[in-house]
Amino acid sequence: MGGKASILIILGFSAIFLVVGQNFNNLSVNSVDNFSKYYGKTVAHNIAVSGANMAASQIFFSNEWSTGFSNVPFSGGMLTTVVEVIDSFQNIKKLTTYSRYTGYNEVYLDTVSVTFQPSKFSRFAYYSAYEPSNIWWTTGDTVWGPMHVQGQLWVNASPVFFGKVTTENGLYTQGYYQTVEVGGHWETTWVKKKGKWVQEAIWVPEYQQVWVSTANPKFYGGYEQGVDLDLPVNGVSNVQTAALAGGRTFSSKDTVYLTFAQDSLRYRFSKNKKDTTVLGATFAPNGVIMANNSVLRVKGKVKGQYTIGVSGTSSKGKVFIDDDLIYNSDPRQNPNSQDLLGMVAQNDIMITDNTANNNNINIHASMYSQEGGFGSENYSTRPPSGSINLLGGIIQSTRRAVGTFSGSYINHGFSKKYRYDDRLMVASPPSFPGTGSFEIVSWYE
């Protein structure tokens, strides 16, 4: 009787333990399986992202790269990348990376797609190939769009950058060196105590000079260094080519006076001659107007999309802005405005020292100066002329002055009110110089 009861009890307990144990085993297996799946998905995703990065790198090194990758072993899995041109007119490319990772009893797949477009200089609110070391970006300076500086960006105090900032060699910030203790070591030395020489351990500190930055730049659109983006040598000549292929070219003229009058264009070659008036759309169908080996003097109200260029060396190859040069429809009031102007000069782009410009000047354009910069004529002797109200961007080789100041008082020339034209993030004036490389416009993962 007792023996049977014992056996029944033991069998009962064993059954309970088996059920409970099985349950625990299942839970453990499922828990591990749960995280194993997450791990597998994460690895597959990382492989796809890595493949996209590797392919993007190839495209940056060689614009024509379209080989892709086929079943490349990577991090325990495989990746395949396909590069395709999805818009041959705008040369927009898309790369798609497919990853495959075999986990425990399961295969994980993932896809990352990246879209590229040719990058234009017009998308910059500010670009400078050379930043003089005596000009600091400081409190009160604000840039509203993307910005690039070849070399170092000299930063003092707290300038504000609302667009993405890229530099070739990082920041040079104002600050000071401070001596700080960075560690040390114990040394044994002989010291005399109560007439006896004894060994004693002493701490020998080690010091280092550390640079303490006092600058606090505000990068509200991101910051990246190590980006080498020089001005191309063929920026102006490419505009020349475009002007010959469906635009308009002025040659053998010392000076070209060009006035935008909404749908019309007026031009002359001498200050006191009469203007010739033409319809802009038929005069330069592709919107590119070039003055070869000349000086270009411009003003007026732009309707439509144009790029005006000027080539030449020494005193030629310059643009002078003789009066307001504005859009017919201001994109700040009308976001659907299609008016867009690019100015491309071999040398400087200057605000003319004349009566019309002595009380503010309004400029709507993206300005590109291949070997000079944007400035004002006679900036140190001209009368105080109000402010430069710029809507667009400045792409220049070297920074030029627009006035002289004593504190907030303008002694000569202009103060600056520069705003970025947000449309330049997605649109560019016709045949505006490109950077020669692609930029990522969309990343899907």
Binding site: V20, F24, L27, Y38, K164, D422, M425, E439, V441, S442
Partner: protein
């Protein structure tokens, strides 16, 4: 039936009682362990589900299939707080810009559950009404860093300054045996939404 029989019955009763007590205790322990382990498995599942959803959505901050509709992705984050974030994205990859709002509901909202700390994590697309599932989230904390790697203090006035973010997430059982709530914690140290840095 003499004295020894009485001793036998008494001894058997005591031994039987002890065995019965052991059985009851074992039953209780088995129930507790089953409950706790089952609960842990559920919270791990919940954690992985929430994490995968967060990663999927946050990686698409500033993304739009028709990229020109978000020309400047650095402006894609509209609102950023320690327990909420609202941003522009293209959640269904159809080329139309959506807003996605994540935020943590108040702790008093789930007073019906035994766990006093669980809260609803809301995920609201565009202007849809807020719907949350109780997955036992007890902590959802976001920390933001600028492009120099420094922590951005709250309140964040210009969300465009955000370069990367840290996500802390803790999930607990909504009810626990003896009010002991097991939990699981996940931290994404530096989540960089790729589109924020595109241009």
């Amino acid at each position: 039936m003499g004295f020894s029989t009485l001793i036998d019955i008494l001894g058997s009763t005591i031994i039987g009682g002890i065995l019965f007590m052991i059985l009851l205790r074992m039953n209780d322990a088995a129930v507790q362990n089953t409950y706790n382990n089952g609960g842990e498995y559920i919270i791990q599942q919940n954690l992985v589900e929430v994490v995968q959803l967060l990663e999927y959505d946050f990686r698409k901050i500033g993304y739009c299939k028709v990229w020109s509709r978000i020309p400047n992705p650095s402006k894609a984050i509209i609102l950023a707080d320690s327990t909420s974030i609202k941003f522009l994205t293209d959640i269904d990859n159809n080329g139309y810009v959506d807003t996605l709002h994540y935020y943590l509901g108040p702790s008093g909202e789930l007073s019906a559950t035994p766990n006093p700390n669980d809260r609803l994590l809301y995920r609201v697309i565009n202007s849809e009404s807020a719907i949350g599932a109780n997955l036992g989230v007890t902590q959802f904390r976001l920390t933001y860093f600028n492009s120099l790697g420094n922590t951005i203090n709250f309140p964040i006035i210009v969300p465009g300054e955000i370069h990367t973010m840290q996500i802390d997430l803790k999930v607990e059982n909504t009810s626990g045996y003896n009010r002991e709530y097991s939990g699981a914690f996940w931290r994404q140290i530096r989540l960089a939404a790729r589109n924020l840095m595109n241009r």
